[in-house]
Amino acid sequence: MDDINVAVLRLRNVLIVSVPGDPDDHVITGLQDKILNSMMRYRAKGVILDLSTVDIVDSFFARTIIDTAQMINLMGGRTIIAGMLPSVAITATQLGLTFENIETCLNVDTAFTLMEQTG
């Protein structure tokens, strides 16, 4: 799906995905396709999901993130969520979202360092 406005940037063999601020369901679903196809195309070892501009994560969005991380894992890659806003972290926790075992970082910078050091 190429009609969605999601930036997937490659830095060395890591993909950095900038998730748009208030994505609709179509964009969220398209995001998954785009990430997985980019994983394949660039032979990436991992994906950093930059959520720093996302001000709402509802259960549908969270489910898609968790599913995508699982798919990336099946393809031999690693996922790190970076930059979640405090208000989103509070709300997601109260809503009952757990994000299972997905790794997290304060920002993209530390996520990239972690990916380089331990990947």
């Binding site: 994560v57 806003l85 709300t91």
Partner: protein, 137 residues
């Protein structure tokens, strides 16, 4: 006794795009009402869950919002109404992890936790009306 203090406003929900519009509208209303960022995020997230439920289960419905007051407190009331299939077992739907669709089963119980009040009125084959309220702190 909760009373209405401002004019009524509403929005139709009948597409995925409308879910985004609900979030945007509720965000603006919350800011005008004087909620802090975390409460705005809680309310907008709750609205997103209920708007998606309408789109997914009832195809279409409406969101109505009002500013309300109760003694010294003032707050925002959001009403999500549809003429969909109704909820068969409200107690079951309020249990975490219960879902009839591809989701996490967090929608209704999660929404309840994010808000101060939630009232569900539903009748099979007639529709569902969910009223949620948050008081400005």
């Amino acid at each position: 006794m909760v009373s209405e203090v401002a004019e009524r406003n509403s929005l139709k929900i009948s597409s995925e795009q409308d879910i985004v519009l609900v979030r945007k509208t509720v965000r603006d209303v919350c800011r005008d009402a004087g909620f802090g960022l975390t409460d705005v995020t809680r309310i907008v997230t709750a609205a997103s869950e209920l708007a998606r439920n309408i789109y997914r289960y009832a195809d279409h419905g409406t969101l109505t919002w009002n500013m309300v007051s109760d003694g010294m407190k003032s707050g925002l009331e959001l009403i999500f109404a549809d003429q969909g299939p109704g909820i068969e077992d409200v107690n079951m739907a309020l249990q975490e992890g219960y879902t009839t669709a591809r989701s996490m089963g967090m929608g209704l119980p999660g929404t309840k936790k994010l808000m101060d009040d939630m009232v569900i009125e539903t009748k099979l084959g007639v529709g569902t009306k969910i009223t949620i309220r948050k008081w400005v702190r």
